[in-house]
C-alpha cells in the first residue's frame, strides 16, 4: 500500500500505490510501515498526497510520527499534492508550522530542493 523511494540518494519520497483513506487500521499500518523504511538517512522526506483520498485524526497522528522521525535528524517533511480539504484540516490543527505544505508535484518539489 505504501511505497518509499529515494531521489538523488538523499530525498525520500513516500506515496500510496493506490487511492486510499488513511484512517483506523490503515493509519496503524502506516505508522508501523514508516518504522521499516530508512527515513533517518534522508535530508528531506516528501509525502505525496496524490492518492490520499481522506485522512482522520489517526492518520494525522501517523504523519506526526513521520515528522518526529524526520525532524529528529534536523530534516524537513514536505507534503505535496494534498486536496484542499486535507490542507484545511492540517491548517486547523496548526500543523502547517511543522510540515512544509506545497502546492506542487513531487517532481517540482525535488527540483526546488536541488
Amino acid at each position: 500500500m505504501f511505497e518509499f523511494k529515494k531521489a538523488n540518494d538523499e530525498i525520500g519520497v513516500i506515496s500510496l500505490v493506490k487511492r486510499a483513506r488513511i484512517t483506523g487500521e490503515m493509519s496503524a499500518n502506516f505508522r508501523k510501515w514508516q518504522e521499516t523504511v530508512d527515513l533517518k538517512s534522508c535530508s528531506t522526506v516528501i509525502v505525496d498526497g496524490n492518492n490520499i483520498e481522506f485522512i482522520d485524526s489517526m492518520g494525522i497522528a501517523a504523519l506526526i510520527s513521520i515528522y518526529k522521525t524526520v525532524s529528529a535528524k534536523g530534516s524537513d517533511l514536505i507534503l505535496v499534492n494534498l486536496s484542499e480539504e486535507i490542507k484545511k484540516l492540517l491548517n486547523t490543527l496548526r500543523l502547517d508550522r511543522l510540515f512544509i505544505i506545497k502546492n506542487c508535484s513531487v517532481v517540482e518539489a525535488i527540483k526546488d530542493l536541488c
Binding site: T23, E25, D56, I60, A61, I64, S65, Y67, E85
Partner: protein, 133 residues
C-alpha cells in the same frame, strides 16, 4: 431543495465506521459539494471512532446515525448506548505540544471546529450527539 433524511446503524468496528464515513461523505458531497462532504465524513468518523475507543460497547450494540441534508444545514445525530460521555467537556488539545496532540484530543476538537454547533445530552441510557454543519 427538499430535505433528505437518512437513518443508518453501524457496527462498532473501525473498518466499518470508515466505510460508513465514506458513504456519508458521498451523500453530502452530491448536494453540498466537496468541502461539506469532507466535513460530514470527518465528523462521523471522529465521533463514531471515539465511541468505539472509549465507550465500552458490547459486541451487538450498534451506533445509530441520522443524517438530514437540508437547504441551509446538514444535521448529523449520533446515538449510542455506551457509557455516558460528553465530548463537549473534553478540553481542547494543546496544539503547541505534538506529543500530547498525537496521543489524543484531536477528534473532538475537529468535530467542534468543523461544525456550526454541537449539542450533547444523555437520555434513557443513551448518548445523543447532534452536530450541525
Amino acid at each position: 431543495m427538499a430535505e433528505e433524511n437518512y437513518s443508518f446503524t453501524v457496527e462498532p468496528e473501525l473498518y466499518k465506521i470508515d466505510a460508513f464515513s465514506a458513504k456519508v461523505s458521498e451523500i453530502v458531497r452530491r448536494t453540498k459539494g466537496n468541502e461539506t462532504g469532507f466535513r460530514a465524513g470527518l465528523i462521523v468518523i471522529e465521533a463514531c471512532s471515539n465511541i468505539v475507543k472509549h465507550g465500552e460497547l458490547k459486541e451487538d450494540d450498534l451506533i445509530s446515525v441520522n443524517l438530514e441534508v437540508g437547504e441551509e444545514e446538514v444535521t448529523i445525530t449520533i446515538e449510542d448506548a455506551s457509557t455516558e460521555f460528553n465530548p463537549l467537556k473534553v478540553d481542547d488539545p494543546n496544539l503547541e505540544n505534538i506529543e500530547l496532540l498525537q496521543k489524543g484530543g484531536m477528534g473532538v476538537y475537529l468535530i467542534k471546529r468543523f461544525s456550526k454547533r454541537v449539542d450533547y445530552r444523555y437520555e434513557n441510557g443513551k448518548n445523543l450527539l447532534k452536530i450541525i454543519i
